[in-house]
């Protein structure tokens, strides 16, 4: 059975933690923008009638 390569870890520096937090916020904003984009796209392609359907 092959041995797993051993990875050594170290704590992030405060500056690296700030950078990671900024990246996380940017990813969240990008995901939100994508949801909005697909919402607008759906309305623009299908019109408001997309909401008017039998249940």
């Amino acid at each position: 059975m092959p041995l797993e390569p051993k990875i050594e870890y170290r704590p992030l520096t405060p500056e690296e933690e700030v950078r990671r937090r900024k990246r996380s916020v940017a990813i969240a904003l990008a995901l939100g923008a994508m949801v909005l984009l697909f919402f607008v796209l759906t309305i623009a392609k299908l019109g408001p009638q997309v909401l008017n359907r039998p249940l």
Partner: protein, 311 residues
């Protein structure tokens, strides 16, 4: 996952760059140029798209262009590291790893093509996918390091946005956008070779076979003149075809004469500071020329400034 593991990082890899580093991977200045030329391609087309669809399509085209720029930076990191103009890019500077850039570029490539297909039509999406593959694979991975004609053939990728723009609006590729494609395609060699004449040493160090390194500066200067002589009348074809008006005709005539005159100046000034000044003069003017041509078209089509020259 514990809080302890969330603040640990493998020592062997970079811990990720700042948000602006990821944005820089997309070559934002190129994205602006792509949005602009695609918009002009849309404006000269006989058709209509809802504003929301037009904006989303332009956004997808821009992101696709950015993705191809990101993949180019991933592949060319070794070249970028030895050229002063590009040494501070995120990958050679060590702020972002190659793997991150590759993943980022591939994700954005697929996402931009899918969004354009869903928003506009699958012809424009296919053209965007072709543009990304052409720039990232054909140009970056093959032509750039293989032939002095690299930017001649590779220029097709930069010339395609107006064609994609027209496909968004009309669902097909028309003669108008093909003329705009031809203008950008023929404009590319004199534009890049003017810079390559000055940066020949750096390209040689990086092992890139640019025209001045392969055919020599003398041959490059002659070719710059020939391309410019061909470009000047080509720039006026929209007038002859009726989708460029009086304003465009004036800009195209003055700009075309300027391109030829500055190319001849490059041919005549072969040494020292005069050579550098002539080459950088042409490089700067070529950007202004293309921007002015496309701005004139956009202004005529969207601000009602069109006055027909040809009946």
């Amino acid at each position: 996952m514990t809080s302890a593991t969330s603040t640990l990082s493998p020592t062997a890899t970079a811990v990720g760059g700042d948000v602006p580093d990821y944005f820089a991977l997309l070559k934002p200045r190129v994205m602006v140029l792509v949005i602009f030329t695609a918009l002009v391609g849309m404006s000269v087309s006989h058709g209509h798209v809802p504003p929301a669809i037009g904006v989303i399509s332009l956004f997808a085209i821009a992101v696709g262009a950015g993705a191809s720029g990101c993949l180019n930076m991933w592949w060319d990191a070794d070249i970028d590291a030895v050229m002063t103009r590009t040494a501070d890019r995120p990958i050679p500077a060590g702020r972002i790893t190659s793997g991150e850039a590759l993943g980022f570029g591939l994700f954005l490539s697929v996402a931009s093509v899918l969004v354009l297909g869903l928003a506009a039509n699958w012809l424009s999406a296919a053209l965007l996918a072709f543009t990304i593959v052409f720039y990232a694979v054909i140009y970056s991975m093959w032509l750039k390091r293989a032939t002095a004609q690299n930017i001649v053939i590779g220029g097709a990728a930069g010339a395609l946005p107006p064609v994609i723009g027209q496909a968004v609006v009309t669902g097909h590729v028309g003669i108008e956008s093909l003329v705009l494609f031809a203008i950008i395609f023929i404009w590319t060699p004199p534009h890049f070779w003017a810079l390559a004449l000055i940066k020949a040493g750096e390209y040689a160090r990086a092992g890139i076979p640019m025209m001045p390194n392969v055919a020599g500066p003398e041959s490059t200067r002659r070719q710059i003149v020939w391309y410019s002589v061909f470009l000047a009348p080509l720039g006026l074809v929209p007038v002859a075809m009726g989708f460029g008006g009086l304003l465009y005709a004036v800009v195209g005539t003055v700009g075309g004469i300027g391109m030829v005159a500055l190319s001849v100046r490059v041919l005549r000034n072969r040494t020292g500071e005069a050579e550098k000044k002539a080459a950088m003069g042409l490089f700067g003017f070529s950007i202004l020329y293309l921007f002015a041509l496309f701005s004139a078209l956009l202004a005529e089509q969207s601000l009602g400034l069109f006055r027909a020259v040809v009946a």
